[in-house]
């Protein structure tokens, strides 16, 4: 086994979308003190770093925005990243306390053709999602975590074999070990400085002094003991929630986090080699009922940007009853890209996938019913001889079908009759259902030269205009 660790050192602050415009930091209460656990780039640029307490941070940057830690949001963000990373590896496990994910990398390496390409693909994808990441590769989970540490500099982050592991870890400083603060202090007080020095101490002596947890951790680190984890289970359906700290009313405020959500979703689809034709989005409000949006695409789609631009069309035209406090993205039905779930209007233009993208765009903005096709109905009554059609397939008219006007109207009663031309056409039908009709149809010409299609109801003798010879 070879593990690739993804460490997100700024996860608590980077999960906030849109990013805070000024210096901002996440603070957590640890005992009596409030300590910074993550800072954004603006804060870091002004020498406010993780680990210092809130009071001294604000002393350094008076306008610093302090945000209370939200462990639930961190968990959700990391789980979403785990779902996203399924596209790179079938075995994924995570540690929500330490903001880390591990992917089994051995199998994926063959697929990507080497470490460089694999790491580059991961880095690029995570940059799109907007996360800073440290990446380390090692035969054990904990060793990979150490190699992914952001403070590790000038040291190779890749160790391929168990044999190379100990020599690679030995010179690294003690602080990189994932231990409780008391254990760190104790080791430092014993005069130990490097991981190698700690590993050289007999484990019985370490266990006596620091308890069994430390020795067990070291055994998992070196691979001397197994490191069983609960693997992340791929879900059958997609559910993603995002809560806003402050309700969002603006379009930009919604689009920013949605963009990330869609890229996460793209990872989910890629992992399953599948695509969607429909996707549900709910915007939850404090008091009003949720706003439901449904995205439908003509062809199976998996590209985040395509789905995102369709959603954007819909959102731009949406009036929210009140600001949104939560977003939920859901999808249940997945299909292989290329298969079509519904037979729709545009498959004749398969030669051009852009055409169906266009139809999707039109539907997203104008509504599904605004974009239609026309079909024929075998019915003698003119108003029933046509239909709105969403499926393709060419209808044929019977031979010797009589001439008909290009515009058909709802029959309108006529008070004044224009000049009638030629012989009437008797249309008599429909006795088998309620809408029985017996009519005599005429072509007529108005004084202004327009041609109308009229009929006289053979029962009531009333005249109606039903078409225009446009």
């Amino acid at each position: 086994m070879l593990w690739l660790c993804l460490h997100f050192p700024h996860l608590p602050i980077e999960l906030r979308q849109p990013p805070d415009p000024g210096a901002a930091a996440i603070a957590a209460r640890i005992g009596p003190r409030s300590i910074l656990i993550a800072c954004n780039a603006q804060a870091r640029a002004q020498h406010v770093a993780t680990g210092i307490d809130s009071i001294s941070a604000v002393a350094r940057i008076p306008e610093l925005k302090l945000i209370e830690r939200e462990p639930a949001a961190e968990k959700r963000a990391l789980r979403a990243l785990a779902v996203w990373s399924e596209q790179f590896s079938s075995e994924v496990c995570l540690d929500t306390q330490r903001w880390m994910l591990w992917l089994e990398a051995g199998a994926s390496l063959h697929y990507f053709g080497g470490f460089e390409a694999f790491i580059a693909a991961l880095q690029q994808g995570l940059a799109t999602l907007g996360y800073t990441v440290g990446i380390g590769i090692a035969p054990t989970l904990e060793a990979a975590a150490i190699l992914a540490h952001p403070q590790l500099q000038g040291h190779s982050r890749i160790v391929r074999t168990r044999k190379a592991l100990l020599p690679a870890l030995a010179p690294l400083p003690l602080q990189l070990l994932a231990l409780a603060p008391e254990a760190h202090a104790g080791l430092r007080d014993s005069g130990l400085g490097t991981i190698g020095a700690v590993l050289a101490v007999p484990s019985a002596a370490l266990a006596r002094r620091f308890g069994p947890d430390l020795t067990r951790y070291l055994q998992r680190l070196t691979g001397a003991a197994a490191d069983p984890r609960i693997f992340h289970k791929p879900a059958r359906s997609y559910r993603r929630r995002l809560e806003f700290v402050a309700p969002v009313a603006s379009l930009e405020g919604l689009l920013f986090p949605l963009r990330r959500l869609f890229f996460e979703f793209q990872g989910f689809l890629r992992a399953r080699d599948s695509a969607v034709q429909s996707l549900r989005l709910q915007l939850l409000h404090r008091d009003a009922p949720p706003t439901m949006l449904e995205l439908r695409t003509t062809d199976p789609e998996r590209r985040a940007l395509r789905l995102f631009s369709l959603l954007r069309e819909k959102l731009e035209r949406l009036v929210l009853p009140e600001p949104a406090c939560e977003i939920r993205l859901e999808a249940d039905q997945f299909i292989a890209p290329g298969d079509t779930q519904l037979s729709v209007l545009e498959d004749r233009t398969q030669r051009d996938a852009n055409w169906s993208a266009l139809l999707d765009k039109l539907r997203a903005r104008l509504g599904d019913h605004a974009v239609r096709g026309l079909g024929l109905n075998a019915d003698h009554r003119p108003e029933r001889a046509w239909c709105i059609q969403t499926q393709s397939g060419e209808a044929q008219l019977p031979d010797a079908f009589p001439d008909r006007p290009l515009w058909i109207l709802e029959p309108r009663p006529l008070r004044q009759l224009p000049k009638l031309m030629g012989h009437p056409e008797r249309i008599e039908t429909g006795w088998w259902d309620a809408a029985e009709a017996r009519r005599d149809y005429y072509i007529a010409e108005t004084d202004e030269g327009a041609r109308w299609w009229l009929y006289r109801d053979a029962i009531t003798h009333e005249w109606f205009l039903q078409g225009l010879w446009a």
Binding site: L345, E346, R348, T349, D352, N354, W355, A357, L358, L359, K361, L362, R365, L366, H369, A370, V371, R372, G373, L374, G375, L376, P382, A385, W386, C387, I388, Q389, S392, G393, E394, A395, Q396, L397, F401, D403, R404, P405, L406, W407, I408, L409, M421, G422, I443, T446, E448, G449, A450, R451, W452, G467, L468, W469, A470
Partner: protein, 220 residues
């Protein structure tokens, strides 16, 4: 003012000078030299009147009908039929009435090539037309919009120029006096002999008048 280096030639040799000037893209050549790409309308008498002998491709054609029911929709049908035969989709955008499927089918338009877009507002209709024109896959669009905004017309003309579709804009004849960026503007009126077409603007051609008989072949 920037100076442009022109290729050297003898200024007394008119033919050589003309050849050089014609090779210069930034020199606007007169209407007789500017070729207009067009598709036959299916009516020889009308083709004869139009620059490029047909409906301009990648440009806006304005059809200003004096009233409904005079053959205003029959006029582009032969060109639409030819486009459908080449498997191009055709879009009707915001038509004023229901396009009658049996009549269109009988006129030789395969219904599967036809897209009918119904919009709630004129803005949406023009937006849809622009999207379709810019996508480039459609053979023709027919848009019914009575907009008076010069900017809206310019946007449509620009969108039409990005593709190779025929772009028909139906407006009421009340707009004939308004200026328009459309490449071709026709006023349609019925007369005793059939459909009278007045060419009130033709980029790269001349204005004029032509009467077509039997445009509404179906109506008596």
């Amino acid at each position: 003012m920037p100076s442009y280096p022109l290729p050297l030639c003898n200024p007394t040799d008119a033919t050589a000078l003309l050849a050089v000037l014609q090779g210069e893209a930034r020199i606007w050549r007169g209407r007789d030299l500017a070729p207009v790409t067009a598709r036959p309308t299916g009516f020889a008498a009308l083709d004869h009147c139009l620059p490029g002998h047909g409906w301009p491709v990648g440009a806006l054609t304005e059809l200003l009908a004096v009233r409904e029911g005079i053959g205003e929709l029959s006029l582009p049908l032969p060109a639409l039929r030819a486009l459908c035969a080449q498997e191009y989709p055709i879009a009707f955008i915001a038509p004023p009435h229901i396009p009658y499927a049996p009549a269109l089918r009988k006129a030789g338009i395969p219904l599967s090539r036809l897209l009918w877009i119904d919009t709630a507002s004129d803005n949406d209709a023009r937006w849809a037309a622009e999207q379709i024109l810019r996508e480039g896959g459609a053979g023709a669009i027919l848009l019914w919009s009575d907009t008076q905004e010069g900017r809206a017309l310019r946007r449509l003309q620009l969108a039409a120029e990005t593709g190779r579709a025929l772009a028909f804009l139906y407006r009421s004849a009340a707009r004939r006096a308004h200026s328009s960026t459309a490449a071709l503007r026709l006023v349609l009126e019925s007369c005793a002999e059939g459909l009278a077409i007045e060419v009130i603007k033709a980029r790269g051609g001349r204005t004029g008048r032509v009467v077509l008989e039997a445009v509404r072949a179906a109506a008596g």
